[in-house]
């Protein structure tokens, strides 16, 4: 019967199982059974299925490729397993996956399966295949040495030799005439046959490893027990191996999974409770992490990712173990709730949507992100090949088939019955047996990846006390309704009410809605707890809320709306008291302060248009402040007719020296050689003067450069400078000799210094 016809006879349940196990067949199935059968028999599809096949299936499938069609008894004899039921079970699994067809107890591999398993059970090519490439003279020597009649065609002769080699008694007779070292070499080669299944390891003897003597190898080559393939490489024909192992090719093959030795006596309620506790903790920690990222509090290394130092800092803030922080960072990143920016981990736009979900949904987002991720969050901070901790969000390569490996692990975990716990090491063995080809061959080892998966499942509350929690079973079974329901049970529904008490605490008797929790967190200090957070109202917390734009009325309304049993009187009093005191001390922004000893003068300054333009405010009878830079303020006040000086005590303090009137104290007279900045240098403390000098120099140099660029200065040449003087345009002609804060010209009638900001243009009259 054709494979397509076989499939036609399958029940819906069997077909469903087939398509679930081999999802790549789904598109072909839409075109009918024949198309499905064609697709299922292709090497690509068969190869995909083999990757997810267990050890028992692979061993039996490989045995079948050596001798088919075959019954279970025949396969068992070939393998030497003495476990016909185990073979039958493996054949049934192969049949249900569409890898073999079983008719009346006889199994046949489907399609290209034989080609895929080209070194079955670690055996090399057949004698016929190997000698096919051997030159005739060499073949003839072989025929002669074996004493096989040479009248037949080469192919028939090769077939006859193969049969003899496959026969244990004939092989034993042949070897009885072999030198001891040749026999030992052959035994060693047969022993070294790769025990791996499903992998292209095969049975190869390369060069001198192990180093045989020339004679030993020569006898084997001369008698067809080794066949040279290329220079220095020879292989033992598979018939020789089969003839050498009369008790079977794989007597120790594990046709059945490791039987887990469960720890019994667990109460399902305890497992569920512990899982729920872990789930709640994981969610709370993830929420705290996303909040922290939202506040820009999670720094990154220059090289990217979070190293030990960055993780430790976050761990301290969140009171978590560093290892868990590393995992949570990876997890939240996989869930696309946080993303690395150049210097910090930030919350994404998606995080805002996430906050809007219910508590159980928020947890499920994390779980599903984890299930589908192409990496292992436990990789963060795990030691690399050199023993150094890997950074979280480092440049880690995705682990091949991580999601599939995780799915297999969870599938095995979910199968642990209620009331039982598993031994992690045994479970790892079982998982690897289930899909030995899934894990790739690189680091980390499959057992470590299984251990990571279990730790991560424990972190998320899917596994508790080495036992599966109900929601994990539902996830594995794909029962979405049950997943949702169990998640709500485990995480609890968000609440929008809390208890306010006279000791100035707020207590949520369950997880609070994020918006309510956020608001409460603004008006009270959250005491870091877990699923039932508590908050404490203090003067500082309420003041902080007022700083953020809350009003006392608003806080009162918020509390009244969400309090389960009213707002206690002491809290009402505290709120009113903080509100009363809030703003009694006000801080303003000011760049300069004007102090005068004359109240009337202060009023006079404040009443001018210039004061209004400069933003000066009278904040005390003799004190004005303003957002203007002190030097400019001094200039402005001078322009208004007063005689202010910069106070030596601080750069932002200005003092107005009274300008006239007999009753006003007069300032000290200006030095005769006053030149502006020189006076400042004289009155300022040395270090401030140095700083100002430096600033002035820098500014002058910058100004000179700019002027040079803008005005095209003509050094040491007669130059015409147009400038403003007393509001009018004027010209000066002279030789340009300097640019500082002034433009210096050597004129006919002396030196002319023009303030740079008055210069409009510089021209070279010669042009």
């Amino acid at each position: 019967m054709r494979f397509g016809d076989h499939l036609r006879s399958w029940s819906s349940k069997d077909l469903t199982e087939l398509l679930l196990a081999r999802p790549d067949l789904v598109p072909a199935s839409e075109a009918g059974f024949d198309a499905l059968a064609r697709r299922a028999a292709t090497p690509v599809s068969l190869g995909r299925c083999l990757i997810r096949s267990d050890v028992g299936m692979l061993v039996v499938a490989e045995a079948l490729t050596l001798a088919h069609p075959a019954t279970a008894d025949e396969i068992d004899e070939l393998l030497g397993t003495n476990d016909v039921d185990g073979v039958l079970g493996a054949l049934d699994r192969l049949r249900r996956r569409g890898l073999v067809v079983v008719e009346q107890g006889v199994a046949t591999p489907v399609g290209a399966l034989e080609d895929l398993l080209y070194r079955p059970l670690g055996l090399g090519p057949s004698f016929i295949d190997l000698v096919d490439r051997v030159p005739d003279p060499v073949f003839d020597r072989l025929v002669h040495a074996l004493g096989v009649g040479g009248a037949r065609k080469r192919t028939a002769t090769a077939r006859a030799i193969a049969r003899r080699l496959r026969d244990p008694r004939a092989l034993a007779r042949l070897l009885s005439g072999a030198p001891d070292d040749s026999r030992e070499l052959l035994a060693a080669l047969v022993e070294r046959r790769s025990g791996a299944v499903g992998l292209p390891a095969g049975f190869l003897y390369r060069g001198s490893a192990p180093s045989p003597t020339g004679d030993a190898r020569g006898w084997l080559l001369d008698h067809g027990l080794l066949v040279a393939v290329t220079d220095g490489v020879a292989e033992v024909p598979r018939e020789v191996v089969m003839g050498s192992l009369p008790l079977g090719l794989a007597p120790g093959a594990a046709l059945r999974p490791v039987r887990l030795r469960p720890v019994t006596g667990l109460r399902v309620d305890d497992v569920t409770a512990t899982g729920a506790d872990r789930a709640a903790s994981a969610l709370d920690a993830a929420e705290a992490l996303v909040r922290l990222a939202g506040d820009g509090e999670i720094g990154l290394r220059r090289a990217g990712g979070l190293g030990v130092r960055e993780v430790n800092r976050v761990a301290k803030l969140l009171q978590l173990e560093p290892r868990d922080v590393g995992r949570l960072v990876e997890l939240c990143h996989q869930a696309r709730l946080v993303a690395p920016e150049p210097s910090a981990l930030v919350a994404t736009d998606l995080a805002a949507t996430w906050w809007g979900l219910s508590r159980s949904r928020r947890w499920l987002v994390l779980v599903r992100a984890w299930l589908g991720s192409s990496g292992f969050v436990s990789r963060a901070l795990s030691p690399d090949e050199e023993g150094n901790p890997r950074p979280a969000l480092g440049d880690s390569e995705p682990v091949a088939a991580a999601a599939a490996a995780r799915a297999v692990t969870l599938d095995v975990v979910a199968a642990v019955p209620d009331g039982e716990a598993f031994d992690p090491e045994q479970l790892a063995e079982t998982v690897v047996w289930r899909s030995p080809n899934l894990w790739g061959t690189g680091f980390p080892a499959p057992e470590e990846l299984v251990a990571w998966t279990l730790e991560e499942a424990d972190l998320l509350g899917l596994v508790a006390g080495h036992a599966p929690v109900p929601v994990l079973r539902a996830l594995v079974a794909g029962d979405e309704a049950a997943v949702e329901s169990l998640a709500v049970t485990a995480l609890g529904a968000d609440q929008d009410r809390f208890v306010l008490q006279a000791d100035l605490t707020a207590l949520a008797l369950g997880p609070l809605e994020p918006t309510v929790a956020g608001s409460l967190g603004e008006v009270a200090d959250r005491r870091w707890g877990r699923s039932v957070p508590t908050y404490r109202f203090t003067e500082a917390s309420l003041r902080r809320a007022l700083d953020r734009g809350w009003t006392a009325d608003g806080i009162g309304r918020f509390l009244a709306d969400h309090a389960l049993s009213g707002v206690p009187q002491p809290l009402q009093y505290l709120l009113a008291d903080v509100d009363r005191r809030y703003g009694s001390v006000r801080v303003l922004t000011a760049s300069a302060v004007i102090i005068t000893e004359d109240e009337a003068l202060a009023v006079e300054i404040a009443s001018t248009n210039r004061a209004s333009r400069l933003g000066l405010r009278l904040v005390a009878p003799t004190v004005l402040i303003g957002p203007v830079e002190p030097h400019r303020l001094v200039d402005e006040l001078r322009a208004e007719g007063w005689f202010p000086v910069l106070d030596g005590g601080a750069a932002t303090v200005g003092r107005v020296a009274t300008g006239g009137g007999a009753d006003r104290p007069r300032p000290d007279p200006l030095p005769a050689d006053w030149t502006g900045p020189a006076l400042e240098a004289a009155v300022l403390p040395a270090e401030v003067a140095d700083a100002v000098d430096q600033l002035v120099t820098d500014r002058a140099e910058a100004a000179a450069a700019e002027i040079d660029h803008r005005l095209h200065l003509h050094w040491n040449r007669t130059t015409l400078v147009r400038h403003r003087r007393d509001g009018h345009l004027a010209e000066v002609r002279g030789v340009l000799v300097g640019v500082d804060e002034t433009l210096t010209l050597l004129c006919d009638d002396g030196i002319e210094e023009l303030p740079l900001d008055s210069v409009v243009a510089v021209e070279d009259p010669a042009r």
């Binding site: 667990l266 506790d277 008490q501 008797l509 002491p570």
Partner: protein, 577 residues
């Protein structure tokens, strides 16, 4: 690691139990729940009540609390059962494991022996090996339940230095002089010792209770709980009769007794109550303080005198051994000074009884109380006593007083150390005290303060006597008696009255100043008015707080403490009176 199976327990009472378990060490009891009372009674045996405001009480699952419970005979299964029965949701397995593991640590190290060569009371014989000792020398041993644990302990440098030679794989000798220090260290290592070593009987002395004294049931229960072990702490709320309970314990022991008290006022009260409630000849009762040094079969000594040093040495340390005491009572054990801990470490062969209203120590040395005085043997919440009529119901009111501008300025200008004094002496307080007392005509009242500067004007304004540390004891006693007899309506007292002042009919207390919001002080002062009143009237505790001063900061601590204790608390402005 494969988890151990959890013992089967009855299923939770209902999904909506009164108990929440927000964290592994925190339990929240919803007091409005119908099952709250039943749950609270069970919780009290192993969890420490941290705060008990009006809606939700917070209990802490601490090592000491669980060891206290274990010492009292509570089993891990009982604790597990309570949690599973009353928690609103499922209890995480890890919590149950942690509880069981912690409780099981108590008693895995046992101190025994002490009966060789002299007459001792009780005490398990040292298991296994014979100890080479001189006649007359008390010999102790430390026994563990397995060899590895003893190995582990010996590896600790401190324990290793305190232990003597190994007697067998699980037993090591212990010099009696190291008994106390070893117990302290074992608590630090979380291997609390079960001290079953023999106690010295002390010199015999018949102490008969006066026929007029009828112990309340809980007082009798407290004595019965403490007596078998001969060590440990009895926790009773202020006003519940701790002194009487301790006297009853002394009577039950029938031996020379040393009573250590907090100060002279307390010493006088103890003297008075011993005379009043026992048939002891007053000549047999001695007072040992700065003023007198009477060493009698029953001696009352102050902590101060015990800790007085000369040339760097405690002058009166010998008192602890001189009287061949059969019992040492530590009054207000939560105030025990460090030096007394040191002395106590040296008298571990004597019976020890600590009495207190709270095990909370501001210095956090609860572990020393546990290891040196003993585990908590009895505890009854004040709420129970109030419901049973043994304590008067009380309300707490904070009255905010607005200082004058001049006073505000003075407060602002005062050095940090002087600010409390400036705030305490705000003038408006005196007038407000009068207005508050006017709300309770005919009720005996105490006006309590820390700063004499502030108390003087108050006493003057009220025309009431002022009792301070300088007031002669005889005069104090006269005034206290007059207040008891109703000859005085109000007495103004300094902090000498914080402790051990027995004025049962006082129902109003006005606190005009305090010591930095100390929780102990608050509890003690409140305790002055909690004795049940003959007419069943309510007690009122007022605290005057100068607004916008450091007092307001301290008041927040007080408010939190009292609210956490479950007292109704209200804040009002002085002008509302």
């Amino acid at each position: 690691m494969i988890p151990d199976p959890v013992p089967a327990s009855p299923p939770p009472d209902a999904a909506g139990g009164p108990l929440l378990l927000p964290a592994a060490d925190t339990l929240l009891l919803q007091v409005d729940h119908p099952s709250a009372e039943a749950c609270r009674a069970e919780l009290a045996t192993f969890a420490e009540l941290e705060s008990s405001p009006e809606h939700v009480h917070t209990y802490r699952l601490s090592d000491l609390g669980l060891w206290n419970a274990r010492a009292a005979g509570v089993t891990p299964a009982q604790v597990t059962d309570t949690l599973l029965r009353w928690c609103a949701g499922p209890v995480p397995h890890a919590v149950l494991r942690s509880v069981a593991d912690t409780m099981d640590r108590f008693g895995r190290v046992i101190i025994e022996g002490g009966a060789v060569g002299r007459e001792m009371i009780g005490g398990n014989a040292i298991g296994g090996g014979a100890i080479d000792s001189s006649p007359g020398e008390a010999v102790l041993a430390v026994r563990t339940d397995d060899e590895a644990l003893l190995d582990q302990l010996v590896l600790d440098p401190t324990v290793g230095a305190l232990l003597g030679p190994r007697l067998d794989p699980i037993t090591a000798a212990l010099d009696p002089a190291h008994r106390g220090r070893l117990k302290q260290r074992l608590v630090e290592l979380r291997w609390p010792a079960d001290d079953r070593a023999a106690l010295s009987p002390g010199a015999g002395l018949t102490i008969a209770l006066d026929a007029s004294l009828e112990l309340r049931p809980y007082q009798r229960q407290a004595v019965d709980s403490w007596l078998p072990s001969g060590n440990g702490v009895v926790v009773l709320p202020c006003g519940a009769g701790k002194t009487v309970t301790a006297i009853a314990a002394a009577a039950a022991v029938g031996a020379n007794t040393l009573v250590l008290v907090t100060g002279d006022a307390s010493l006088q009260q103890w003297h008075r109550e011993l005379t009043r409630f026992t048939t002891l000849d007053p000549e047999l009762i001695g007072c040992y303080s700065a003023r007198s040094k009477q060493l009698r079969p029953v001696t009352i000594a102050t902590y101060n005198v015990l800790t007085t040093k000369k040339d760097g040495r405690l002058r009166h340390a010998a008192l602890m051994e001189q009287g061949d005491w059969g019992l040492v009572v530590y009054d207000e054990v939560h105030l025990l000074p460090s030096a007394v801990f040191g002395l106590t470490a040296g008298i571990q062969a004597r019976r020890r009884l600590g009495v207190t209203a709270t095990l909370i120590r501001e210095d956090g040395r609860q572990g020393d109380v546990f290891s040196l005085i003993g585990p908590k043997r009895f505890d009854v919440p004040w709420r129970d006593l109030e419901l049973q009529g043994w304590l008067a119901p009380a309300t707490c009111t904070e009255v905010r007083v607005v200082p004058s501008d001049a006073e505000r300025l003075a407060h602002a200008r005062a050095a940090v150390r002087d600010k409390p004094r400036v705030a305490a002496t705000v003038g408006a307080k005196a007038e407000l005290v009068g207005r508050l007392l006017a709300r309770h005509p005919g009720e005996p009242a105490l006006v309590i303060g820390t700063y004499l500067d502030g108390l003087g004007p108050v006493a003057e304004a009220l025309g009431a006597p002022l009792v301070t540390g300088a007031t002669p004891s005889a005069q104090r006693l006269v005034w206290f008696d007059q207040l008891r007899n109703g000859e005085l309506d109000v007495l103004v007292v300094s902090k000498v009255a914080n402790f051990s002042l027995d004025l049962p009919e006082v129902s109003v207390a006005v606190q005009v100043s305090g010591t930095f919001g100390s929780r102990q002080e608050e509890a003690q002062r409140l305790g002055r008015i909690l004795r049940p009143k003959a007419d069943g009237r309510q007690a009122h505790f007022y605290t005057l707080v100068a607004r916008d001063t450091v007092e307001q900061e301290y008041a927040q601590r007080r408010q939190r403490f009292l609210a956490e204790q479950g007292y109704a608390y209200e804040i009002i402005d002085g002008h509302e009176l």
